[in-house]
Symmetry: C2
Subunit: 193 residues, 2 copies
DNA sequence: TAGCTTCTACCGGTCGGTCGGTCGGGGCCA
DNA sequence: TGGCCCCGACCGACCGACCGGTAGAAGCTA
C-alpha cells in the first residue's frame, strides 16, 4: 500500500520545493511532511542539495524517456514536433512538480550538479531546435529562426504548470490540445501568406 | 552622473534577486553591491520584503503604462494583439530584471502585498484574454479557447528573459519579431484550414 | 553647530547538519 | 519454545554559521 520511504520523501520534497521554492523550504518542513524528525530524515538523505539534485535528475530522465525517446522514433517531422509538444505539455499538466522545479531552482545546485543538469537541458533543447531546423530545410517553416522557435514553444509548454489547475474549467487534454495547436500553427508555414 | 542612491539600490537589488533568487540573496550582498554596509543600506530601505515589493510594484507599473495603456488605444484587434505581444516581449529583452522577478518571487511577499500584485497581474491577463475573446467573436480565432491562448502567449513572452542574451547571435529586435510572429500566427485563424 | 549619512557592534532567531542513543522486531541458539 | 542479541529505523539535543534587523556613535558637509 505505502510506497517505500525514499520515494515518499522525494515526492513530498518535490511538491514542497515547487510550492514554496527550494530556499524557502526548510529541512524540517520536509521531515514533518513525511512524519519524521529532521534527524530521522537524514537517515535517508545525504543533504538538502542532494535531495534537489535527485529530483531534477529524475525530472530530466522523465523528459528524456517520455518525450525525446518517443519522438525520435517518428520520422515525419511535423508529427515528431507534435509529439514533442504534446507529450511534454501533457507531463506539465500531470502535477509533475519535479518537472517544474527544473526550471526555477537550478541555482540551488553545486557547480558540477548544475553542469550535469544544464548539459542535459541543452541536449533537449537541441533536439527541439534541430527538429525545427530540419523542418526549415523542408521549407515548412516560413521565415522562422529555429532558435527563437524552439525557445518560444518551450516557454509556452513550461508555463503550463503555473496556470493549469486540474480542478479548473479546462481538462488536461483540452489544454494540451490547445497548446499543441498554437505551437504547430505558430511555427509551421501557412498554405498562403 | 550617478543617479540617486535609492534608484541605484532598487536596480542593484532587482538584478541580484533575478540572478540568485530572492531567498538566496542576503541583505549584505545588496549592500556590498551599492558600496554600503548592511546598516548603511537600512538607512534607505525599510526591509528586505519592502524592497521586493517596490521592485514588483515598479515592474507592474511599467507593464501597465508601456503595454496596456498603449495597446488599449488601438482599436483594430489584430494590431492591438500585436502591440501587446511585441511591446511586452521588447521589455523582456531589455534586461528588465524587475519584470522577470514578477514571475518567480511572488511568494516572498506578505499576504496583502501579494494580493495587491496578483490583482494587477490578473487584470493584465484579463486584458490579454479579452482581446483574444473579442477576436474570437469576430471569427478570427479558429477553434481556440481564449484562456489557453492568453496563457500560451504569456508563457512565450515571459520565457524570453531566461534565454535571450544581448550579446548573443540574435538581436533584441529579431527576437521580438520572431516571437510576435509565432504568437500571432499561432492564435489567429488561417486563411484555409 | 546642525543634520544627513555611514559606520562598528551586536541582537534574537533559524538554518542545515551531526551525534549519541533508543526501541522493537526478526534471526539464532539451546 | 524461550531467551538473547543484533541491527535497521528513528529521535532529542545540540552545533556553528548566518540571517534580517537595530542601536548608537562617528564622520562629513554646509
Amino acid at each position: 500500500m505505502d510506497q517505500d520511504k525514499p520515494t515518499e520523501i522525494y515526492q513530498a520534497a518535490a511538491r514542497i520545493f515547487y510550492e514554496k521554492g527550494y530556499h524557502a523550504t526548510s529541512i524540517n518542513e520536509i521531515a514533518e511532511a513525511v512524519h519524521l524528525t529532521k534527524a530521522g530524515l537524514y537517515y535517508y538523505i545525504k543533504g538538502k542539495q542532494d535531495l534537489l539534485y535527485r529530483i531534477m535528475d529524475f525530472a530530466m530522465t522523465t523528459l528524456e524517456t517520455e518525450v525525446v525517446a518517443v519522438a525520435a522514433q517518428e520520422s515525419d517531422l511535423v508529427e515528431r514536433l507534435r509529439l514533442i509538444v504534446s507529450r511534454h505539455a501533457y507531463l506539465m499538466t500531470q502535477g509533475g512538480s519535479a518537472l517544474a522545479i527544473l526550471v526555477n531552482e537550478i541555482e540551488g545546485l553545486t557547480e558540477s550538479q548544475k553542469n550535469s543538469i544544464v548539459d542535459r537541458q541543452r541536449s533537449y533543447i537541441r533536439f527541439l531546435r534541430d527538429t525545427l531546423g530540419a523542418l526549415g530545410t523542408e521549407g515548412k517553416l516560413g521565415r522562422l529562426d529555429p532558435t527563437s522557435g524552439a525557445f518560444g514553444l518551450l516557454g509556452m509548454i513550461l508555463w503550463i504548470s503555473r496556470w493549469f489547475r486540474a480542478d479548473g474549467q479546462l481538462s488536461a487534454e483540452e489544454v494540451v490540445d490547445q497548446v499543441t495547436e498554437i505551437a504547430l500553427s505558430g511555427v509551421l508555414a501557412h498554405p498562403q501568406s
